[in-house]
């Protein structure tokens, strides 16, 4: 809120510099975001937190400063003299639960016209445009007291009365149309509090007046309304209508039920001063009287919570001027009665905050708590955090850059990937109020985001792209109120097909597969296997599901040409390798403990053999067969060459493997190894119907 220093000085005579005052306000919780000099005055832009409705006014801010500087708060004289006859007008509150108090004053025979310069300037400095003297007065008092007022053209009010109630209560309607001051016709819900005259609605209570009773150039008599509406009711109405005003902003934060009378007097007096006319007696319907809350405060609790050692005198001195009605209790504490403008103070801790504010947060010492030995966290969490870090590092060190995308996607992202209707990834969590249609759902897969990053980068000339992201995906579980949230790691590898500086480039698929295997091995996750993947968006011949302990934890593979064609990539036949894996499965497969194995005592002997077999037999099957051969002497088997082409029959391939033999008991002789190896070769020939390559 914008507030003029000159105006504040009407209430508290401070002579500190504007900068010092701004600093002071900030340090008692009224953050001054900007200090602006206008003419001879200074305007503070104050950030008022939602609990401090009282500071949405000049007087409220002046009161805070009066406490801070130990200066008195000076009020203007609000005595109304020369009151004419009591008025012939009725006010009825149909629903006291929504309107605790409603007061009004009538001013007769005034002349609507422009406001004097001083009024215009003050309003403008606070960001309010001058309209006419009558409306300006209501706005002026709103700024000054924080009490929203409304002026009705009395001549247009029918039946000599005001009624306060919802359409449901007054007419039984569940909704109605109503044209507000701004000329907009609005649909009013049946439970919105309205102001009515004898025949029809004339204002939305606490939000905006109606066009039908607006004060105009020809207005002669007015009714000034000063009321106290239930904050939640005003807020609901304002939200339902999407209509906010300076009035609703204050009502929904809570207004001072006692000060509304003073504000009304102030407005009546100012109206007479600016527009002439005569003030009539007032009506004040006050069905729900204010009873101040009483809060018990313990001196030792104040010190214990703040980490201070203040005397009772110092504590009470901090609170002086706040308007609390304090009764001391034998030195142990006090009871504070809370004034109506401090509805934010509801418990002991709130009073302790007041003590801290005026004692000064900066004077409270900074000390470190005693150590808690034996962490309070779950070991599992700590462990998972560490493994997650290892996984991230593996990808970073393998040349993959970390991406972070918004957690949203559009449903067409799943169409892009040809995800079938019955796939779990279609169990979407929809956002009711998304910013954009493409962000209307929570992601069920990270891949679409990475593909977007890919096309973005390619279009900006970035080549050779490797990204990964670790984030959660969200699937509507169908059971329980909240969706399943699973953390995933996804990665994408794209390299433009161009001449390489170096020979021996591995196929892209194997590069990403190598990264995954290195990552898993670094965290001790074993029992890894691959089967051909049936993911609809992957190339069926170049993709695999990744299994740990026989359970699918994700996929890795080249995107199918169908999908890459849909992407906006200019490159010729781009090869994009993607993976997505479940983090929890990876973490639970990681090995927590390492047990040392003794180093071998005896030397190893190696044998290489190439066999020619059917080209369809996969490497994993060949290794599987070799490992199934019963011998304790076989330490390791690796495939080191696969060849198809010249010299090999069509439909066949040559697979060369290396076997490392070692005994735990002795040094193996050549003859022993020869015998072992030839029977192994016979075995694998038989299993694969292969021939030894000559």
């Amino acid at each position: 809120m914008r507030v003029s220093l000159d105006w504040i000085k009407d209430y508290v005579k401070i002579d500190a510099t504007p900068e010092a005052i701004a600093e002071k306000l900030t340090m008692i919780g009224l953050e001054v975001e900007a200090v602006e000099r206008i003419d001879d005055d200074v305007v503070f832009e104050v950030n008022v937190t939602p609990n401090r409705a009282d500071c949405l006014s000049v007087i409220g801010i002046a009161r805070e400063l009066s406490v801070s500087y130990g200066l008195p708060l000076v009020f203007p004289d609000l005595k109304i003299v020369a009151e004419t006859a009591p008025l012939d007008f009725n006010i009825e509150i149909a629903q006291p639960e929504l309107c605790r108090r409603y007061a009004g004053r009538i001013v007769h025979n005034l002349k609507v016209g422009p406001s004097p310069d001083w009024m215009k300037k003050r309003l403008e400095k606070c960001g309010i445009r001058s309209i006419n003297n009558v409306v300006d007065v209501t706005n002026y008092v709103l700024l000054e007291f924080g009490q929203p007022l409304h002026a009705f053209d009395l001549g247009t009010l029918k039946g000599g009365m005001i009624r306060v109630g919802t359409p449901q209560a007054i007419t039984g309607e569940s909704s109605m149309k109503f044209k507000t001051l701004d000329g907009t016709e609005r649909d009013i819900p049946g439970d919105s509090l309205m102001i009515w005259d004898g025949e029809r609605p004339v204002a939305i209570a606490g939000v905006m007046g109606g066009l039908n009773t607006e004060v105009t150039e020809s207005t002669r008599d007015i009714l000034i309304e000063s009321a106290c509406f239930e904050p939640t009711s005003v807020r609901r109405t304002s939200k339902a209508l999407g209509l906010k005003s300076d009035a609703s902003y204050r009502f929904e934060r809570g207004t001072d039920i006692k000060a509304l009378k003073k504000a009304l007097e102030r407005a009546a007096l100012l109206t007479r001063e600016l527009a002439g006319g005569s003030i009539c007696g007032k009506i004040d319907i006050y069905p729900r009287q204010f009873h101040p809350a009483e809060i018990n405060v313990r001196f030792d609790r104040v010190n214990k919570l703040l980490g201070l050692n203040l005397s009772p005198g110092t504590i009470l001195n901090c609170l002086k001027g706040l308007g609390l009605d304090i009764t001391e209790q034998q030195g142990s504490g006090f009871i504070a009665k809370i004034p109506p403008y401090r509805m934010d103070i509801t418990m002991e801790a709130d009073i302790i905050e007041e003590v801290a504010r005026f004692y000064g947060y900066d004077k409270i010492p900074a000390e470190l708590p005693e150590a808690i030995i034996g962490g309070t966290g779950l070991r599992d969490n700590v462990y998972a955090t560490g493994i997650k870090r290892d996984i991230r590092q593996s990808f970073l060190k393998s040349g993959f850059t970390e991406a972070i995308n918004l957690s949203f996607m559009g449903s067409n992202d799943l169409d892009l990937l040809s995800i079938p209707q019955d796939d779990a990834r279609r169990r979407l969590v929809k956002i009711m109020n998304p910013l954009r249609e493409e962000e209307a759902f929570m992601r069920t897969t990270i891949l679409p985001s990475l593909l977007r990053n890919l096309t973005h980068n390619i279009s900006h000339g970035n080549r050779d792209l490797r990204f990964f992201e670790i984030s959660r995906v969200f699937e509507d579980s169908g059971s329980g109120p909240l969706p399943d949230e699973k953390e995933r790691i996804a990665a994408i590898y794209f390299r433009e097909k161009s001449g390489s500086l170096y020979k021996e480039e591995a196929a892209d698929f194997y590069i990403l597969k190598g990264v995954v295997e290195a990552m898993l091995s670094s965290i001790g996750a074993g029992d890894l296997s691959y089967v051909r993947s049936e993911e609809p968006f992957l190339h069926p011949g170049r993709s695999a599901d990744v299994l740990i302990g026989g359970q699918k934890v994700g996929y890795i593979g080249a995107l199918s040409p169908e999908v890459t064609d849909r992407l906006d990539i200019k490159a010729h036949k781009p090869s994009i390798i993607a993976l997505e894996m479940d983090m929890a499965s990876i973490i639970s497969a990681s090995k927590k403990n390492i047990t040392f194995k003794h180093l071998p005592k005896y030397p190893f002997v190696e044998r290489d053999t190439a066999i020619i077999l059917d080209a369809n037999i996969e490497a994993a099957a060949i290794i599987g067969h070799l490992k199934s051969y019963p011998s304790e002497m076989i330490e390791d088997i690796t495939i080191f060459d696969v060849y198809q082409g010249k010299g090999i029959e069509e439909g066949k391939k040559s697979v060369a493997f290396n076997v490392r033999y070692r005994s735990r008991e002795k040094t193996l002789t050549d003859a022993e190894v020869e015998k072992l190896h030839s029977s192994l070769v016979e075995y694998i020939k038989e299993k694969t119907a292969g021939q030894v390559r000559g």
């Binding site: 900030t26 340090m27 919780g29 953050e31 975001e33 937190t49 939602p50 401090r52 904050p231 939640t232 609901r236 929904e252 214990k304 919570l305 703040l306 980490g307 418990m347 801790a349 302790i352 905050e353 801290a356 504010r357 947060y361 409270i364 900074a366 000390e367 150590a371 808690i372 962490g375 309070t376 966290g377 779950l378 969490n381 700590v382 955090t385 870090r389 060190k397 393998s398 040349g399 850059t401 970390e402 972070i404 918004l406 949203f408 956002i431 109020n433 998304p434 929570m442 990053n453 973005h456 980068n457 900006h460 970035n462 990204f467 969200f474 109120p481 969706p483 949230e485 500086l501 170096y502």
Partner: protein, 335 residues
């Protein structure tokens, strides 16, 4: 005769040019059918009184030739190695093949740094759901429906009761429901608000923290958070605590640190104030304790929260938050 042989050897040795010549000359003189070997065989035909002397001479010659051959071979081997090293030379200015590590996202960099500092101070790490119940996100934290405090946070809704969490604070309530004090943890994670411009992203990251025990005081809040800021930004960074408002803490504080860009003299980033808002914090509101079944007279605690994007923007002088989520390599490569 052996002098002639020696001279002949030395003459031939001069013309040795490569390893093949060296091997040939060795065979020619010292081989089974070599010249020196042959002259040893002639010893038997020499008169016995001269035989000893002749034998000695031939033996000397043999040793001389052996030594010379060894020397020559060593020279040849050496020059051969030199030649090989030259021909094997590569262009060392070509780029290395696997030299390029990936780059960690600046947010994850800052996030891990924050986590590290707090775990060093004995805080553990907790997590909670990002799609959250209204009751945890707001009501457990003393923010009832129709409360203006909800205006501080524009919320994405999935249904009337389910929303995208607007802060990491619901983790406070979730953990306190399950565990008894003492507690000391942080809860990092993604949060959501429907707002998007140069300084706001609809998704961003926060780190929440909570410490609860008997006798936890406001002065502890000041101590721990000052220590954090100084670990993170430098030990000479000034820190100030000023009153603020959060429904789930009382008293509440906003924590500023001296602007690290202008060192407090005022600049665009700190809007001329010399201070940067970095943390929100406060003593846990007794109502929050009551909501989770803690006795507010027995336990006190402090809670705090910070935005990771804000720290990253300031730390790396990034002027548009959207860059953080575009994942442009030209941007990410800088971290």
């Amino acid at each position: 005769m052996s002098d002639d042989l020696k001279q002949q050897f030395l003459d031939e040795l001069k013309s040795v040019a490569g390893p093949a010549d060296a091997a040939a000359i060795r065979v020619k003189y010292l081989g089974k059918k070599g010249l020196v070997t042959a002259s040893i065989k002639t010893l038997s035909s020499i008169a016995p009184e001269e035989r000893k002397q002749a034998g000695q001479r031939i033996n000397e010659l043999k040793q001389f030739i052996e030594a010379e051959c060894d020397k020559m071979e060593a020279v040849i081997k050496n020059s051969e190695l030199k030649g090989r090293l030259i021909t094997e030379a590569i262009d060392i200015t070509l780029p290395g093949k696997y030299a390029c590590f990936g780059n960690q996202h600046p947010l994850s960099r800052v996030l891990l740094e924050v986590i590290d500092i707090f775990t060093r101070m004995g805080f553990s790490v907790e997590e909670g759901p990002e799609v959250e119940l209204d009751s945890y996100n707001f009501e457990a934290l003393n923010i009832p429906k129709d409360h203006p405090a909800r205006d501080m946070q524009d919320t994405f809704y999935v249904s009337d009761d389910i929303l995208l969490r607007t802060h990491t604070s619901p983790v406070q309530a979730r953990v306190m429901e399950k565990k008894k004090p003492p507690l000391r943890f942080i809860a990092p994670g993604k949060v959501y608000r429907c707002d998007a411009d140069v300084t706001h992203s609809p998704m961003f990251h926060q780190v929440e923290g909570l410490m609860v025990d008997k006798d936890i005081k406001f002065s502890h809040l000041k101590g721990v958070l000052s220590a954090f800021i100084q670990e993170m930004f430098g030990h000479d960074v000034p820190v100030r605590f000023r009153p603020s408002f959060f429904p789930f803490t009382e008293p509440s504080a906003e924590i500023d640190m001296g602007c690290i860009l202008c060192k407090g003299s005022g600049c665009r980033v700190c809007k001329g104030s010399g201070w940067l808002e970095i943390l929100g914090a406060g003593m846990v509101n007794p109502r929050v304790f009551e909501n989770v079944g803690y006795d507010p007279d027995m336990y006190t605690g402090f809670a705090f929260g910070m935005g990771i994007e804000r720290i990253a923007l300031v730390k790396y002088s990034i002027d548009d938050i959207r860059l953080l989520f575009e994942n442009d390599m030209r941007f990410l490569r800088q971290f």
